[in-house]
């Protein structure tokens, strides 16, 4: 089955907007000395571009193997960063979050998450029971791992939202839209969860 066409299209556009915003932050931040976090912006940028291709065929960019290799390397890099910063909680937690995000994307590329291969939408139609194998559309490998990722994404997202306000106040940060980065992270995470769920059957 596949969702109504407007849904993946809207999600892909949203991811491209997030990517554009992350690119702007990554470029403008150091130039204007705005105190941005380059790691976070680059992960958002690359993750959004890769995610958009997983949701809509028209947003496809690099081959899956290239993306998988890239996120595997990034996951190793951030895991090492987390190890090096194990005594510094904020830096360690941030590295763990980035590593986890890269691992989820790696899983998605290896498990076969991608745009629907069905012609036309099944939305609004009466179909047979939603059982695997009854549709021509491809499904993901290791769905249990995918569902665990979806649950983790949901709870990670609410934790990010729950901590957004107090953290900004406590840091006394200049306000170069730190909340918007958190919002972007949540948006990307939720769309990745949608991409996994949409390929279960």
């Amino acid at each position: 089955m596949n969702a109504p066409a407007f849904l993946p299209a809207a999600f892909s556009i949203l991811l491209i907007i997030v990517a554009a915003y992350a690119l702007w932050r990554a470029v403008a931040g150091p130039l204007l000395r705005l105190g941005t976090h380059v790691d976070t912006d680059l992960v958002l940028l690359v993750g959004s571009i890769a995610g958009a291709g997983l949701v809509s065929a028209w947003a496809h960019t690099l081959p899956r193997t290239v993306w998988a290799g890239l996120f595997a390397a990034a996951a190793c890099y951030f895991t090492a960063r987390a190890g090096l910063n194990r005594s510094k909680a904020p830096a360690r937690n941030q590295a763990i979050a980035h590593a986890s995000g890269c691992l989820v994307l790696l899983y998605m590329f290896l498990a076969g998450v991608g745009p629907s291969t069905l012609h036309g939408s099944t939305a609004g139609q009466y179909t047979m029971a939603g059982m695997p194998g009854m549709y021509v559309d491809t499904t993901i490998a290791y769905p249990a791992l995918g569902l665990v990722s979806v649950a983790a994404i949901a709870f990670y997202s609410v934790v990010v939202v729950a901590h957004t306000e107090p953290k900004a106040a406590a840091d006394g940060s200049s306000g170069f839209a730190p909340g918007s980065v958190e919002a972007c992270r949540v948006i990307v995470a939720l769309i990745l969860a949608y991409a996994i769920l949409s390929k279960l059957v």
Binding site: S121, A123, G124, A144, S157, A162, L197
Partner: protein
């Protein structure tokens, strides 16, 4: 672990109302994501998922469900998009401090509507509602959880859920909930020969599941053959003890009862609910198991630190 309670009181516990609220928010967000699955946008969602809950229910329960199924089926895409957005908004709203109260209030109303129109009151009036498979309905448990962990300004309570209803009210609600579960376990349909096998492996429960999990389920289900009545009676007794355990004066007994409740919730979830059956792409929520465990955590006794005790007894204004 030292954690900050709603309005600044320091409680020596890992179970705070704020963490429970975040957990509830996560469940709502997960529900919203599940609602975005392609199956939900088809007419099957209304016909097979919603309308089927009216089967066996009296007319006053069945008619609203049938009406809702007809309306949703007629506007499948718009209705489901709205449902998903509402549930995602509830999850994010409960998570965020500024919108928490409003979102929790809305979640009570929304879950109440889902319980009536989408779950047929959890099948309570069908004569075969089984807690093992999710009765009395996860939507009802969402409402109960929201009421129990409602944010309150003053918290002179000894557990996280004693805010809005007070200690006695919250304990009474707990006793009624687990008493109902005990009663439902003893329904003739739930202790009949083969009842546990059907509940644990029947229908389309195993569709799409990993083989290792289906194997575990089948094995456990076979162990119940010929012992349905005995298991039902023992389980009902355990549930009855859990129901009254929160009234015990000894903290260890309360903790034991709550630990048993968490175990029962997880056993229901793994053995009877198949994690909410998400492998078919038709799950709307993780079912009642996680919510029963969450409610039990909300009753976990809190040990006040000396500073918190002083804060509680200090005149207002000093606390800040």
């Amino acid at each position: 672990m030292i954690a900050r309670f709603d309005e600044g009181l320091i409680i020596d516990t890992a179970v705070t109302r704020e963490r429970l609220q975040t957990a509830l928010a996560g469940l709502w967000l997960l529900d919203g994501l599940l609602q975005l699955q392609p199956y939900m946008f088809t007419e099957n969602f209304a016909d097979q998922t919603i309308a089927s809950t009216a089967q066996g229910s009296p007319g006053w329960v069945g008619h609203p469900v049938t009406w809702a199924a007809r309306e949703i089926g007629g506007h499948a895409i718009a209705a489901n998009t709205l449902f998903a957005l509402i549930q995602i908004a509830l999850g994010l709203g409960i998570a965020h401090r500024r919108t928490r109260r409003v979102a929790l209030g809305c979640s009570i109303v929304w879950a109440g509507g889902v319980w009536l129109f989408g779950e047929g009151l959890g099948g309570l009036f069908t004569g075969n509602a089984n807690p093992l498979t999710g009765a009395p309905g996860s939507a009802l448990l969402y409402s109960i959880t929201a009421i129990l962990i409602w944010p309150v300004r003053k918290c002179d309570d000894r557990f996280a859920s004693a805010g809005l209803l007070g200690t006695r009210g919250a304990r009474s609600l707990w006793t009624v909930l687990w008493g109902v579960l005990a009663y439902l376990t003893l329904l003739p349909a739930n202790r009949a020969p083969g009842a546990f096998v059907v509940a644990m492996t029947g229908g389309m429960m195993s569709v799409g599941e990993p083989h290792w999990y289906t194997g575990i389920q089948d094995h456990l289900a076979r162990l119940t053959i010929g012992h349905d009545t005995t298991i039902a009676i023992v389980l009902a007794l355990v549930l009855a003890v859990i129901a009254v355990s929160v009234w015990a004066r000894v903290s260890a007994i309360v903790r034991a009862g709550l630990a048993a409740a968490i175990v029962v919730g997880l056993v229901y979830w793994v053995c009877g609910q198949a994690f909410g059956m998400p492998f078919m792409g038709m799950a709307t929520d993780p079912n009642s198991g996680p919510l029963l465990a969450l409610i039990a955590l909300a009753f976990w006794p809190t040990a006040l630190t000396e500073s918190a005790r002083a804060t509680l007894t200090a005149p207002q204004g000093v606390a800040a």
